[in-house]
């Protein structure tokens, strides 16, 4: 099927219904954007992420990555030392030396990200300039880009947003006359990506391109004929950058669960004029599988209350899934940042009884959580065990980012992630 951009049926732009959002400013108990490197370096298989930062950054990466890394990872930290800060050494010369050494050791690297950190941002080290300078030196073998994953600017998944936003200007241009093409934006597990690609293919939408691609040289091209679906809700800056390149957003619920995935696919199908029968035929079996798998967990989760501490910006779509598809009752849904345009559908699906909060004062939020005593709390690793000690069941939020949860075939896995902690509690008799 080959359509021009004008033949695309854009979904109606949905706004957010008015609802109060609790905003508090206190201690944030969240990761910084550097943590995104953990999955991005697995996703883009010939990219290296060089953090320009401090010992704290390196320590964060190894503490959070822990045992997940088998081989020598494709990330590292250029640790700034006293002599760099005191001006005894020229920081740019030093960085050039580090990059030189690194690329000599890892000749397979085709894309290098210089990743800014809190200290590099505070001293205003210009990594953009460094990337330009180094690009001249190492082109065409290695492309060099920069973004900031600093905790003063980014929270956890916003690191991926910053990374992809940095990639967008370097994407090859799509010719103006090119037929309309669908791009799926946001890192997905390879297996999920392939499932989606197959479904789109069967609907006759294709070829669908994914950002980020698995290899630096396979990044999709973009232009005014590009329409894109977000696979992840946290891509505010990436969406903006794509729009600057002329691409158009298909606003949609996120592909979590049977309903979420159906709606997400349907948005694209409608845009590309896929007829109802074809669409239903394509999704029938996998959708049934998803429903079946969800049903297995529904009994255990229905009516249970859930409380979200802010973490990944996946909270709103997750709350939608848990509420609509599993019958759970969200009490508070905290998110580090609320982009009402991107999560409008999921947000509107939340009942008014749900309290939405943005940002955090962790001590006050813990007070609310203890008061409510929800059946399950979604929170970060720093809070989980202390809450368990108080008798509150928790689900580590990081697992929702590191596990394939999108799409039909993963809907059951996603439900199981919430069922397991409750299941465990009922089993244990110690």
């Amino acid at each position: 099927m080959s359509l021009t951009r004008d033949e695309i049926n854009l979904p109606q732009v949905t706004g957010c219904a008015e609802r109060p959002v609790l905003k508090q400013r206190g201690q944030h108990e969240v990761f910084c954007g550097l943590t995104g490197i953990m999955w991005l370096h697995r996703k883009i298989q010939d990219a290296f992420f060089l953090i320009v930062g401090s010992r704290t950054c390196a320590h964060l990466m190894q503490s959070a990555a822990g045992v997940m890394i088998f081989a020598e990872p494709r990330f590292g930290t250029a640790i700034m030392e006293e002599r760099d800060l005191a001006g005894i050494a020229d920081m740019h010369d030093e960085l050039d030396g580090v990059v030189e050494k690194l690329l000599a050791r890892r000749p397979e690297i085709r894309l290098l990200f210089l990743v800014g950190s809190c200290p590099s941002e505070v001293i205003k080290l210009d990594l953009g300039r460094a990337a330009e300078r180094l690009a001249v030196q190492h082109s065409p073998d290695v492309r060099i880009l920069n973004y900031s994953g600093s905790g003063i600017e980014t929270t956890f998944t916003q690191g991926e947003d910053a990374c992809l936003a940095a990639l967008v200007p370097s994407l090859p241009p799509e010719p103006d006359q090119a037929p309309a093409a669908l791009m799926v934006v946001g890192a997905l597990a390879d297996v999920v990506e392939d499932q989606f690609a197959r479904l789109f293919e069967e609907m006759g939408i294709g070829p669908v391109r994914f950002l980020p691609a698995r290899l630096a040289d396979d990044m999709p091209s973009v232009g005014p004929n590009t329409v894109y679906l977000l696979a992840q809700p946290f891509l505010t800056d990436t969406a903006r950058a794509l729009e600057e390149r002329g691409a158009t957003l298909l606003q949609t619920p996120f592909p979590l669960g049977a309903e979420g995935t159906t709606a997400w696919l349907k948005t694209a199908a409608d845009a590309f004029g896929v007829d109802e029968d074809t669409f239903n035929n394509v999704i029938e079996k996998p959708k049934q599988r998803a429903e079946r798998a969800i049903e297995l967990h529904r009994e255990k989760l229905e009516g249970k209350t859930v409380f979200f501490f802010p973490d990944s910006q996946l909270e709103i779509p997750l709350a939608r899934f848990l509420g609509n598809e599993l019958g759970m009752v969200a009490t508070e849904v905290g998110t580090p940042y609320l982009n009402k345009r991107l999560v409008a559908h999921d947000l509107n699906a939340l009942p008014d009884t749900v309290s939405v909060s943005e940002g955090q004062d962790v001590d006050l939020q813990l007070d609310r959580c203890r008061e409510e005593r929800p059946d399950i709390v979604v929170c970060g690793l720093g809070l989980a065990n202390p809450l368990e000690v108080e008798g509150i069941t928790t689900k580590w939020s990081i697992e929702l980012v590191f596990t394939p949860i999108q799409g039909f075939e993963q809907a059951g896995d996603l439900a199981e992630l919430f069922a397991r902690p409750l299941n465990r509690r009922t089993r244990l008799e110690v």
Binding site: Q27, C32, E72, A78, E82, V98, G151, L296, P386
Partner: protein, 517 residues
């Protein structure tokens, strides 16, 4: 600028956190951005502590930088004091906080808080975690201890135990073992600090006759100061291994004025099994095993002595990342005719291990990674710590029971191989837990074998009763290797039950859905 992937030590403010978290009523207000809160998980996840560390982070953001970040700090400090009601507070900055130069120490002085506030200057760009811990303990003791009552003369001898912290390698069990040992000699333990100590306990430090410097990395600065200030001598021997424990007891006897024959009689009473196990003929295969050691200075020095003198191994190389104690490690290395490697670059360690080709590596989790890559047996004897280093069972490194533990620790990797480690490591992981893990690394194999390659091999040689379509086979490959075997078996079982002759991708997912719980 130093390029690194892994680091042996965290930044110095993490050292300060280890002191604050170890104590019962000390609170740390840290001027730091939000990402620095990751450090909480070291304590709640790795050490499985039941409470959040007593740390308040100001979590300033970029938009605060133009404004008043000092006010942010003062608000955080005041809120923390009111909410947590600590007996004392330490204040300082992380690496980024240091750059914005708000001077938390100076600010807190102006606030008139009703508790002692101890400012910390921990240079993040030149110092590291252990230094930060040692400095913090020293600052706390220096501020609090002189306020305590003067020493009351007693008719018994008493000591403080200085150095055990939160997140320390087996500190919890070492303290229990050593307190027992000291008390068995009739010496009273006055205060253990900082582990489980209150600020009030710090006030009582003066009451002891001498100090036991249990971990020089974190305790020596304080012990040296206490010696100067209150004329309390301190022990020099770290009681790891049979001989070191005996030396330690003799040192205690001298400090506590216990007659020599009484001390020797106590030493005779011990029931340590290591000497007999080592002499048992079963252990002859251990003779001259080439061993390489790397870790913190305390554990490397002590463990080299155990390996060489008590296990009959041959030390072929050793080193440390504890630059502050490099001289001690160099001296120890000379005893075994090797030159110590002093570095915090794990690549240098890896290179040395590769060149020396030892039969056993004793190191930290970092060396465990290195040994895994090189297919060498390894036992973990030092921080940096990992969730595995906080075993549920009582497992001290120190004293006579510690020596028993060490015998097992130093022998088991040789008999069991590395794969056990790997499997244990992943047993609790969400994706790995059900997999009956295959043997990843050939036992005693000396070349690098990637677990994945091995798994692939096994897969291709298994004879399938059912045929897989190319597409389905490709899809199966995308499933992580550690659960792939199970996915294959389940799919085939499912196909068999359904009477299918061919497995398509559809079958794969039908099976997944079928077996999904």
């Amino acid at each position: 600028m130093q390029l690194t992937v892994w680091t042996y030590e965290g930044p110095p403010h993490v050292g300060a956190m280890r002191i604050a978290t170890a104590m019962t009523d000390l609170h740390y207000v840290l001027h730091a951005p939000q990402g620095d809160t990751y450090a909480d998980l070291l304590f709640t996840m790795i050490e499985r502590r039941k409470k959040r560390p007593p740390v308040t982070y100001t979590t300033f953001q970029a938009r605060d930088l133009g404004g008043d970040t000092s006010q942010l700090f003062m608000d955080a400090a005041r809120d923390a004091q009111e909410r947590f009601q600590p007996a004392a507070m330490i204040v300082g900055a992380s690496c980024t906080g240091e750059l914005i130069q708000d001077d938390p120490g100076g600010l807190s002085k102006t606030m008139g808080l009703p508790i002692p506030v101890i400012p910390l200057e921990l240079p993040s760009y030149s110092k590291k975690e252990n230094w930060g811990a040692a400095e913090t303990l020293y600052q706390v003791v220096r501020t609090i201890a002189p306020q305590g009552p003067d020493k009351i003369e007693a008719d018994y001898k008493s000591c403080n135990i200085i150095g055990p912290t939160a997140l320390g390698f087996r500190h919890r069990d070492d303290v229990k073992e050593i307190v027992g040992l000291i008390e068995s000699m009739g010496i009273h333990v006055n205060v253990v600090a900082p582990l489980d100590a209150s600020v009030h306990d710090i006030l009582r430090l003066k009451q002891a006759d001498f100090n036991v410097c249990l971990y020089p990395e974190t305790g020596l600065t304080t012990c040296t100061w206490l010696k100067r200030q209150f004329r309390q001598p301190h022990t020099k021997t770290v009681p790891i291994g049979v001989n070191a424990t005996i030396d330690f007891m003799r040192e205690l006897a001298e400090l506590a004025e216990i007659p020599q024959d009484e001390c020797e009689a106590l030493i005779e009473e011990n029931e340590v099994r290591l000497p007999w196990y080592s002499r048992s003929i079963d252990s002859t295969y251990l003779t001259g095993k080439r061993v390489y050691l790397f870790g913190d200075a305390t554990h490397v020095i002590a463990m080299a002595r155990v390996a060489q003198k008590e296990m009959g191994y041959q030390v072929v190389g050793m080193g440390t990342y504890s630059r502050e104690l490099a001289r001690d490690v160099r001296e120890a290395a000379e005893l075994y005719g090797v030159e110590a490697l002093i570095t915090d670059d794990y690549l240098e360690v890896e290179e040395q291990v590769q060149n020396l080709q030892p039969e056993l590596v004793l190191g930290s989790q970092m060396e465990r990674h290195i040994a895994k890559r090189l297919g060498l047996p390894c036992a973990v004897i030092s921080a940096p710590v990992h969730v595995q280093d906080f075993p549920a069972r009582y497992s001290p490194q120190m004293g006579f029971e510690g020596a028993n533990v060490l015998f097992d620790t130093l022998v088991h990797p040789l008999t069991m191989g590395l794969e056990e480690h790997l499997l244990h490591m992943f047993r609790d992981d969400f994706e790995f837990n059900d997999a009956a893990g295959p043997s990843h690394l050939g036992h005693g194999s000396s070349k690098t074998v990637s677990a994945e390659a091995k798994d692939e091999q096994q897969e291709t040689t298994s004879n399938d009763p059912l045929s897989w379509t190319l597409e389905a086979e490709k899809e199966l490959k995308k499933i992580p290797f550690f659960v792939r075997g199970k996915a294959r078996r389940n799919t085939e079982k499912f196909a068999g039950e359904q009477g299918l002759a061919e497995i398509t991708m559809e079958t794969l997912y039908e099976a997944k859905s079928h077996f999904s719980r």
